[in-house]
């Protein structure tokens, strides 16, 4: 999904939702305001609203039973289970580019994408009744605008021209960076867990995905 404000001349840096990296723009006094930054604000808000709505819809149409636990839970939850796939003889679990909700302050939960997706092979011998849990690590930080082209913050400089103008310092960004992890034992906190319902050798293979708020989905492979 792309924002109409992504292409030139608007150049919102968060114009492509799936690559949405910066949740907030941290404007600083004394620096010029960039048109692209205003566009980016709109994209950011649209992004958050979009995934809020998707989540609403998904929850309303699911059998989620554990919603109230989220409000007291500092953890992460998926917007939807639909992006989880299981395929192949090795039972490869894929969580492609997906948006998750992170609690970043007492007030704020923010939707942010999982940068690289998640791939984990359960293996052919992943047996009936066994489960594997997946969790997400994340960090929040301010990324400072930088005149050093090797720094991530370099692209916060004025982008109205063909190249970034490092002489025009831009706003900083507040970012959530998520990495992935797997709990092999299926214990502890998790974003979602996969359980094999069918016996080995039986086709189709049937897996159940359950997330931290009780949404469930069955996948036949």
């Amino acid at each position: 999904m792309s924002s109409p404000l992504g292409p030139s001349p608007y150049k919102s840096r968060n114009g492509i939702f799936e690559n949405h990296k910066y949740s907030l723009i941290a404007f600083k006094p004394g620096y010029s305001l960039q048109a692209s930054e205003l566009n980016e604000i709109q994209d950011n808000i649209l992004f958050q609203n979009t995934y809020n709505n998707e989540f609403f819809y998904d929850v309303a149409s699911s059998n989620a039973v554990n919603l109230s636990s989220i409000s007291t839970n500092d953890g992460v939850f998926l917007c939807s289970l639909n992006k989880i796939t299981i395929s192949g003889t090795a039972n490869k679990v894929r969580l492609d580019i997906v948006v998750l909700n992170f609690k970043v302050s007492d007030f704020y939960r923010l939707w942010a994408p999982l940068d690289d997706g998640l791939i984990h092979t359960l293996g052919e011998n992943f047996q009936q009744g066994h489960h594997k849990s997946f969790h997400i690590e994340y960090e929040t930080s301010f990324i400072l605008c930088s005149s050093d082209s090797s720094k991530e913050g370099f692209k916060f400089n004025d982008n109205s021209g063909v190249v970034y103008s490092s002489s025009s310092n831009g706003a900083d960004r507040f970012a959530i960076k998520a990495t992935n992890g797997v709990n092999t034992d299926g214990q502890g906190s998790f974003i979602f867990k996969v359980t094999r319902l069918s016996e080995i050798g039986i086709t189709p293979k049937v897996f159940e995905i359950e997330d931290s708020i009780g949404r469930k989905r069955t996948i036949n492979v």
Binding site: A26, P29, L33, I41, G75, F102, Y108, L110, T140
Partner: protein, 692 residues
């Protein structure tokens, strides 16, 4: 009067670059008389920091290498190729007003030097697992958190307030201890840190080691009453100058110290390491500090307040150059870090950016804990006539002042963005990466708003209870960066509350047949599985963020319904909006036991109006002016107006502006008999079912 020792700063830097030994940077130049006094020693003697530290020509034990200034301290690591101090201070001009210490990440010898009342100290980087306080080469990964001095361990906690709070942290988390460099054998020796202790009501203990002239009969004992202490009269830390001079000139310090007495009213903080002693001198009685400290958790670099004062020698042993390593799990240190490191000259410098939390109110104070505490403690200008007690009282008084007034003169402090770009690449974590301090890792910030910190200054936090939901930009008025930040916060707050609401409300009603927003189909039967209800709060009506926001009491046939403090979603124009109620609103109605056919709606009334930006300090719009100068309002700047939305009343009387939030029924057919009061929200959720 500011004390700026430009040449000395530069000298310190040069020393660092060249030798890796000795006091690295004599930063922390402060504008207090206190600091001036501290530096008198150096000023009076020679033109170099070395002499100030007692390593000049008047140090009797110096060998040729020491005097050379280039090879003092730790020879094996004396190469210091990538010290970034030189980049941070390309010239000393306008950089002197640094409040804090900057040290090279590979500074050696008496590196960490904290005369700064700002508690300056260098923590050069964050590692993956530890906050790295102290400057160690990358290859020595285990030295995560260290104080590295070039002399016998003896420290002064210039900022005892911070010392104490941080040492509480250390006390819990210290897992490793001390490495000392034996200058005779040129080998590092590890010592296990046995314990940390502090001793309330004791002051100015000058510490002991086996080779020092001090005595502690049992360094592991809890009772140090027989410890020889030296007390500076009347808690007068300004006497340190005299103290130093006296100390430095006394050849038999042991006898001198042993003839001193201590006062139980004084404070002492310190710890022992095997037979070596590390000690702190706190200038302010511990109890005073403890009681007034607004820091709940300082986390952070305790060592930042450690000093390596000129008293280390003589008379103390010079057998060791010392490296003190405090291993503190990062998780215990950075959890309160949620500010960008925006104005520290040295990334990783001591004033590790964090917010302060008021211990009582839990209010966030914009500031930096070490930085701010120190500032508060030391932004006191004393006169020569004041007694020690008067000075302490003045310090206490300053602690209660708004921080902002204490930091307003920091305008010359380097912005981090000025610094990070000049940092050279180093092998693993670059200094610039330090600046990108994770404000949380799987742990949300306890700070509610993200952009209300310096330099972003979103006013959202200040205006939360005012219910300023919209920003009214006006042509002809300069746009403030803070307004754009507030705009984002406002929008996100609304969307987050909506999400939070979903999470807080039980799913009620028949989802399969529900049509969100189809109010006409709602049948308020109070049955959770009503065929024609909706599963979530009905956006056509008002509703609380969570059902528990609403309470009731029923007594003497009077029913009181209370809207508690919290958020309420109320139709607003063509949409709806979250309003904050910052004090409980209640409405009372009389309901007799025999009343029948009672069907009442409860409404909330709102008031919407603009609050204009104002130059008058008495007007609420005063804060809409520009605050980019360290949070100080500049009334001449003007700013955007704010649209204010307030819940004015909660009543059963319908008006044009009324928004129904609850429905009450009693004695309605067979379903709700006369001895039963049913109170529901407008999505068929039964809030209360009261039998009377």
């Amino acid at each position: 009067m500011p004390l700026l020792i430009k040449d000395k700063i530069k000298y310190g830097i040069n020393t660092t670059e060249g030798s890796g030994g000795g006091p690295v940077v004599l930063s922390g130049i402060c504008n207090t008389i206190h600091a001036q006094n501290q530096f008198e020693y150096g000023q009076n003697h020679v033109d170099s920091i070395w002499d100030f530290f007692g390593y000049g020509e008047d140090s009797p034990n110096l060998n040729a290498d020491d005097r050379n200034h280039q090879k003092f301290a730790i020879e094996p690591e004396s190469i210091n190729p990538d010290c970034w101090i030189k980049n941070i201070f390309p010239s000393a001009t306008n950089r002197i007003n640094m409040h804090g210490i900057s040290v090279g990440k590979r500074s050696y010898g008496a590196a960490y030097f904290t005369w700064s009342p700002w508690g300056g100290f260098g923590n050069d980087r964050f590692s993956n697992d530890y906050l790295r306080v102290g400057c160690r080469p990358a290859e020595e990964m285990k030295w995560k958190f260290g104080l590295y001095t070039g002399a016998t361990p003896l420290f002064i906690a210039i900022s005892p307030k911070v010392a104490i709070s941080t040492f509480h942290t250390l006390n819990d988390n210290l897992t490793h201890s001390v490495r000392m460099y034996n200058r005779n054998t040129k080998v590092f020796e590890d010592f296990t840190l046995e314990k940390i202790f502090y001793r309330p009501h004791t002051n100015y203990l000058v510490g002991n080691s086996a080779s020092s002239p001090m005595n502690i009969s049992d360094p592991n004992a809890n009772d140090f009453s027989d410890t020889v202490m030296f007390k500076i009269p009347d808690n007068d830390f300004r006497q340190f100058t005299t103290f130093y001079n006296k100390f430095a000139n006394i050849k038999n310090a042991k006898n001198w110290l042993q003839t001193s007495t201590h006062d139980e009213k004084d404070a002492f903080l310190g710890f022992t390491v095997n037979s070596q002693g590390l000690f702190f001198l706190s200038e302010i009685p511990f109890d005073v500090i403890k009681l007034t400290s607004p820091v709940i958790e300082s986390g952070g670099a305790s060592a930042m307040i450690l000093g390596n004062p000129p008293l280390w020698e003589p008379p103390f042993s010079r057998n060791y150059s010392s490296v003190y390593n405090f291993f503190v799990p990062r998780s215990n240190i950075i959890k309160n870090i949620n500010q960008p490191r925006d104005f520290y000259a040295a990334p990783g410098q001591s004033g590790t950016p964090r917010l302060l939390y008021d211990k009582n109110t839990n209010e966030t104070i914009v500031g930096f804990d070490t930085f701010a505490d120190s500032a508060r403690a030391w932004e006191c200008i004393f006169s020569d006539e004041e007694t020690g007690i008067q000075k302490i009282n003045k310090v206490l008084s300053s602690l209660n002042q708004p921080l902002v007034s204490l930091i307003e003169d920091f305008s010359n402090i380097l912005k981090l963005s000025d610094v990070v770009d000049t940092l050279p690449d180093i092998p693993f974590k670059t200094a610039s990466s330090i600046s990108f301090v994770p404000i949380s890792k799987n742990t949300p910030s306890s700070e509610k708003f993200l952009l209300n910190i310096r330099p972003y200054y979103s006013k959202k936090k200040n205006t939360l209870k005012e219910n300023y939901s919209l920003i009214g930009f006006k042509p002809g008025v300069l746009l403030q960066s803070a307004e754009l930040n507030e705009l984002q916060e406002s929008m996100l707050l609304q969307t987050n509350l909506q999400l939070e609401c979903l999470l807080n409300w039980p799913i009620v009603g028949c989802k399969a047949r529900a049509t969100l927003g189809s109010a006409t189909r709602i049948q308020l039967s109070g049955l959770m599985d009503d065929l024609y209800s909706i599963p979530f709060p009905n956006p056509s009506y008002a509703y609380p963020l969570k059902p528990s926001n609403i309470n009731y009491s029923y007594q003497n046939e009077q029913l009181t319904i209370i809207l508690n403090v919290g958020w309420y979603n109320i139709p607003f124009g063509t949409g709806n909006k979250w309003y904050y109620v910052d004090f409980p609103i209640e409405h009372k109605i009389n309901l007799t036991q025999t009343q029948n056919n009672v069907d009442i709606h409860f409404y909330v009334d709102t008031q919407e109006n603009f609050v204009l930006s104002s130059q008058s300090q008495n007007d609420p719009g005063y804060i809409f002016n520009d605050r980019s100068n360290y949070g100080n309002v500049n009334p001449a700047t003007d700013g955007a107006d704010r649209y204010k939305s307030t819940i004015t009343s909660f009543t059963t009387v319908f008006t044009e502006l009324s928004k129904p939030i609850l429905r009450l029924r009693k004695g309605v057919g067979d379903e709700i008999p006369v001895n039963r009061i049913l109170i529901q929200t407008l999505n068929n959720y039964k809030l209360f079912d009261i039998n009377i």
